[in-house]
């Protein structure tokens, strides 16, 4: 999964080869975007809610230290065992040590992007602990040994026939069966058996309330609860930024989350975990993994406001046409492209460029993250830090030199339309990607400047 040989452009190009599939993918996600529009427009104060949510998150970021301390104290008072992890390795080691102490070798896990980021499954499997993802989409992705392509809809890039084939291979369904209801029923049967036999369950965290020390987990399937309430050890992994100050703030976020994500009025289950069940152990791991560093980047810290609704992916035309896996990062799409460079700028140098900066993402974002502005800013940082390709640096310097002087510009213009030969999107030769599927504009007899000089001189 860590191996990366191709960048977004190349991976996207491969995805686009099957145009009928791309059309389906694009249409499915656009439909979700439309459901989100309908849901948001049923709430007259929608834009005020977004603003409030954004301000609450600003407050969280500006007081994060105190809120973390407060949350921790309240959680401990509630009987939750709180752990701290600076990075993925520490997080994974904590999970493993909790399981090892109880001699537990099988765990069920509900959706947690953080544990995907940390590659927890691989870590545990290497140490002889079996992990099963219980969210249906993530379960399917696990069967196929692939990461999720979307944070809310993990296997949205797959057709039902492919899923049917996977079920045939791994779960023994009849060949050719691809009906979604039938396949879901089969998975329900298998996973029910998993839930009732696992002693440990791990969940993610959507919100953690500093005021009360409780945390909220949102699912539609009920898989987080099935795991948690049947286990003797419950583990929750949360990024530092998931804090909300007061319980009443949940009202704002829960009104926004599901409507933004899928157009539902609320996720089916919004579970508030405060204390362990009698006889149960409840652990919570607070994970930094780059978050405190992102907090220190003024132009990028607002990315930490993200509540992982996925609306930016559904609305992003680049995402819809290129598929989530083309972002080669756990969190794909526009939000992934502004989070990933913080963790590894070199590896993810291509992601902020995988956008037209159309701005749709920022305007569907329920916490009003200025995603497209941050994409622009990351481009500046990536170039400044030396991660732009050398050829690009040279051509940009040449362009800057020419454009900085009207004399060199007009000389070059007259000597064969400088722009035609040098503006990156207008280089008129057979190596030019523009020309592969598009005609060049017809070269006019004279430029506007020349026309103006003649007619208004």
């Amino acid at each position: 999964m860590e191996k990366q040989t191709k960048d977004h452009a190349a991976l996207a190009e491969a995805f686009i080869q099957d145009e009928e599939h791309v059309n389906w993918h694009d249409g499915a996600l656009w439909w979700i975007r439309q459901k989100r529009d309908i849901a948001s427009k049923q709430i007259p104060e929608w834009e005020a809610l977004r603003e409030a949510a954004s301000q609450i998150k600003s407050n969280v970021l500006s007081n994060l230290h105190d809120y973390l301390v407060q949350f921790e104290a309240n959680a401990i008072k509630n009987g939750i065992k709180v752990h701290w992890a600076a990075d993925a390795e520490e997080h994974n080691a904590i999970v493993y040590s909790i399981l090892k102490e109880k001699d537990i070798r099988q765990m069920v896990k509900s959706k947690s992007m953080l544990t995907e980021e940390c590659h927890l499954n691989e870590y545990l499997i290497e140490r002889g602990v079996d992990v099963i993802n219980s969210d249906l989409g993530e379960y399917i992705q696990q069967l196929d040994n692939e990461p999720p392509s979307h944070i809310v809809l993990p296997c949205i890039h797959k057709r039902k026939e492919e899923i049917g084939e996977l079920f045939h291979e791994h779960l023994g369904t009849e060949k050719g069966v691809s009906d979604p209801t039938l396949l879901t029923r089969v998975a329900r049967g298998h996973l029910r058996n998993v839930f009732v036999t696992r002693r440990a369950a791990l969940t993610g965290v959507n919100f953690a309330v500093a005021e009360t020390g409780e945390y909220v987990v949102c699912t539609n399937e009920g898989n987080a609860d099935m795991g948690a309430h049947l286990s003797e050890v419950q583990i929750a992994s949360m990024g530092l930024e998931k804090i909300v100050p007061l319980k009443k703030h949940l009202g704002v976020f829960l009104r926004l989350l599901a409507r933004s994500a899928t157009g539902q009025p609320i996720t089916i289950y919004s579970s508030h975990f405060k204390k362990p069940r009698e006889g149960q152990e409840m652990h919570l791991i607070l994970v930094d993994y780059g978050r405190s560093r992102q907090l220190g980047r003024p132009e990028f810290r607002d990315s930490l406001k993200c509540i992982r609704c996925g609306a930016c992916m559904n609305t992003c035309p680049v995402y819809r046409k290129s598929g989530g896996l083309s972002y080669h990062n756990t969190i794909s799409g526009p939000i992934g492209a502004i989070l990933a460079p913080n963790l590894d700028m070199k590896k993810h140098a291509d992601l902020p460029f995988a956008s037209t900066l159309c701005g749709s993402c920022s305007n569907v974002c329920p916490v009003k993250i200025n995603i497209h502005d941050q994409l622009y800013q990351w481009r500046q940082v990536i170039v400044r830090e030396g991660y732009a390709a050398n050829t690009k640096v040279l051509s940009m310097k040449a362009m800057a030199w020419t454009l900085s002087s009207p004399t060199s510009y007009s000389t070059m213009g007259r000597a064969g339309r400088w722009v035609l030969n040098n503006i990156p999107f207008a280089v008129n030769n057979k190596f030019n990607p523009w020309y592969k599927q598009r005609e060049m504009p017809d070269g006019p007899k004279e430029s506007f400047g020349e026309w103006y000089a003649k007619n208004n001189g």
Binding site: A86, T184, L240
Partner: protein, 194 residues
């Protein structure tokens, strides 16, 4: 320094200057036609609603709509002579064969159809998830317009676990085709008690 102290120090060093909390108390829902709004929304999310006058009606409707030969459990003393009163102390795994669970909500939210269930109302935390079908009694006067009123009413809450549940368990992970009954209940029925 410990890992905890290191992280907290990095956070303190990097956090921006104080930014005030917004006033969210002005967010209020519309209390008009609240019962019919609730019923419409809950139906639209795949639930089934009956408006009833008393528990006798509830019991009759359950007998009519569910398979009484299978295990039906409840937390409600009003229904205990008809259905099994569930034990709060047995191993939660023993509920894996429950066909229908009947419990009572503390409140419900008109805008999104969800019911609020602190664990005391569930009997056991696993109950509303492990059953094949879920039925919830909602006293009409406990319906509030939005989550803002709901959280005002819940306050800190005396629970170790509580949940908003808004409909039957669902997934659309396979080609966005909606399937009710992912891992939890395949159906959810609400009895609005008026």
């Amino acid at each position: 320094m410990s890992i905890r102290e290191n992280i907290l120090a990095a956070v303190l060093k990097n956090q921006p200057p104080a930014s005030p909390l917004p006033d969210i108390d002005s967010f209020k829902g519309d209390a008009q036609d609240i019962i019919s709004t609730y019923c419409d929304v809950f139906t639209s999310i795949g639930g089934q609603v009956f408006v009833v006058k008393n528990f006798t009606e509830v019991a009759a409707l359950i007998k009519k709509n569910f398979d009484s030969t299978k295990r039906i459990v409840t937390t409600l003393s009003e229904l205990s002579d008809v259905f099994e009163l569930l034990s709060t102390s047995v191993d939660p795994h023993t509920f894996n064969d429950v066909e229908l669970a009947i419990i009572k909500a503390e409140l419900a939210v008109a805008e999104n159809g969800a019911v609020w269930l602190p664990e005391q109302r569930m009997g056991q935390r696993i109950i509303p998830y492990i059953c094949q079908h879920l039925a919830v009694i909602v006293p009409a006067e406990t319906i509030v317009p939005t989550l803002h009123e709901a959280y005002r009413q819940i306050g800190e809450g005396q629970y170790g676990f509580g949940a908003f549940i808004g409909g039957p368990s669902k997934t659309a992970d396979i080609e966005q085709a909606l399937v009710l009954g992912a891992h939890g209940p395949i159906t959810m029925t609400v009895f609005v008690l008026k």
